[in-house]
Amino acid sequence: MGDSPLASSGESKYEWVDIYGDYTLVPVPETALRTTTAIFFVFTGVLACIAALWGGAALGTQYTLADMVWVAIIGCLIQGVIGFLTAYMGASSRLSTYACMTWPYGRFGAFLWGLALAGITCGLGWYAVETWLFGVMMHDLMPNNPIMSVGVASIWGGLMMMITAAIGIAGIAFLSYLTVPFWIILAGISFAAGVMVGGGWEKVLAVQPVRSAPWEIGVAQVVGLYIAGSTITPDVARFAKSRVGAGLAWFVQVIIIEVYFLVGAGVLTLAMGGARITEALLAIGVGLGAYLLAVLGQWTTNDNNLYSGALNWALIVPLSRRALVIIQGLIGTAIAAYVGFVAGASLDPYIAFLTILGSFVPAVSGTLIADFYVYRGLYKKTPLAEAYRLKIGDKLPEVNLIGWISTAIGGVLGTWVITVGIPSLNSFLISFILYCVLAILLDKAGVKYTIGKFEVTKYGLSPSWAVKRWLARAGKASG
């Protein structure tokens, strides 16, 4: 396991044409690679947002301090290990998550599962949830103003977020670099204030939550908070110079910074008897400026959700990114408003969303990891640097049935059928084992489990309609 990905390839000339931009469906060139520190910074920037504090606050309503720490550590360990393995895969192949998924799912499957992961989970699911949380924050700021009721604020907030995402993400993304220490300090204030409000360490340790939940459900919630991120680490890690460094950058930020965020926010809500984190922060005197920045942070994160979702939809829907941002934004806002009018400021929909996400999505990671490390690495004895290496002229499957079957079975059994153990681990392990067993047995038996073939061209994994459209535009531009 060398430090430099694709070191053996002796890359001298970049032979790919990137028609989607940002190397979405082609390998990242050597000139665009970044240091481990830079990758760590990007990962931390993604983690540092209000959703992490909301997640911690949800734990604070269900667990004692000691249980909360254990739940956070176990959940983050699961995310850390999964993310380490997927980040290493991304840095080895220099390919995005969707491109990596081509091997275990086939090209068609990669688009579909990639869409389920980023288009639906981030673009619609997280967008709707964070828009609703925006409504909750506005409500906590001015509880008696009808325009600030959770449902109404979700509508105008969602529409405004959609507009800023449609107009331009670059300026807004710039702001997110500035706010990383802000979130770290805010979690510190939350933690310290929680201990103060609770009457000191010994008293806080003895405080009982407003309700209790089994610890494995808490682990699933923690995993759910960031499992989509843990699975799509190749999107960032593909830019890493060091494969191990990319994995470690993920692991360290999850194990240290995420645990800190969760416990920091959880202590305050625990000590304040289940109050919402935003309400609690206002009550301790954190200041209106800081509160409004938290609101703005929610805004930038949600614009990113919408934008990433639109990028994924753009891979299979022949519409402009702006049109897709608007369509997703309208649907997400409608869902947020519905939740806002029905559930108000109760955290229950958020907890349910995290639990389902944390139970089902690990099945996708299980399949990816099984294919890359076990089937290709151990069984086929392909060096990991070559396992997912895209080459012009290669023929890859359109559909890989084993990936579809193992993910679907693992996700359904782990989420809804098996009632013992940690749901996140169950679905991960079932899909992982199922993929290994089926792929190796069918390969040994000579049974074909893929459908169709497509040839990799210099446009990478781009579909032919997108290539034609791009060529037509390029022709018009040069004409």
């Binding site: 830079a38 910074f41 670099y177 220490p181 802000f182 805010l186 204030i189 310290a192 204030a193 920045l293």
Partner: protein
């Protein structure tokens, strides 16, 4: 190039010295209220440690682009710590414990932020390193 290097070192030196002063004030605040002192110390450390590490890393870098990339990464940490300081130190949470000191820290934070943002742009212009960390 020498001019921008001197500018970067001057900024980092100011950050290190003022963050050290902030750290001392934070420790003093800790004795009044540990719950206000803890985030205060955290803020000072978030500016101090990257500035120290960055200064050491930069001394080994002579190629303009590489110097620019590392300098911008380092300055982002200091400037963004300043951003947090500007927002938090004037708040009730801190001013109740140490009014004058927290106002002073808010001013210092503003310097880290404004000077830092200007310097990021200046380094980017001089070395062509990316603006994003």
């Amino acid at each position: 190039m020498q001019g921008i290097k001197r500018h970067v070192y001057a900024y980092l030196l100011v950050c290190i010295v003022t963050a050290l002063v902030g750290l001392v004030l934070g420790v003093m605040a800790w004795y009044v209220s540990p719950y206000a002192g803890f985030p205060w110390i955290l803020t000072a450390l978030l500016a101090l440690l990257p500035s120290l590490v960055g200064t050491i890393r930069l001394r080994a870098l002579h190629e303009p682009y590489k110097f620019g990339v590392t300098a911008i990464q380092t300055i982002w940490w200091a400037a963004s710590s300043g951003f947090a300081g500007v927002l938090f130190f004037p708040a009730d949470y801190f001013t109740k414990v140490a009014g004058a000191e927290s106002t002073a820290m808010a001013v210092v934070s503003a310097i880290w932020l404004i000077w830092g943002l200007y310097l990021i742009y200046a380094v980017h212009r001089e070395t062509k390193a990316p603006l994003a960390p």
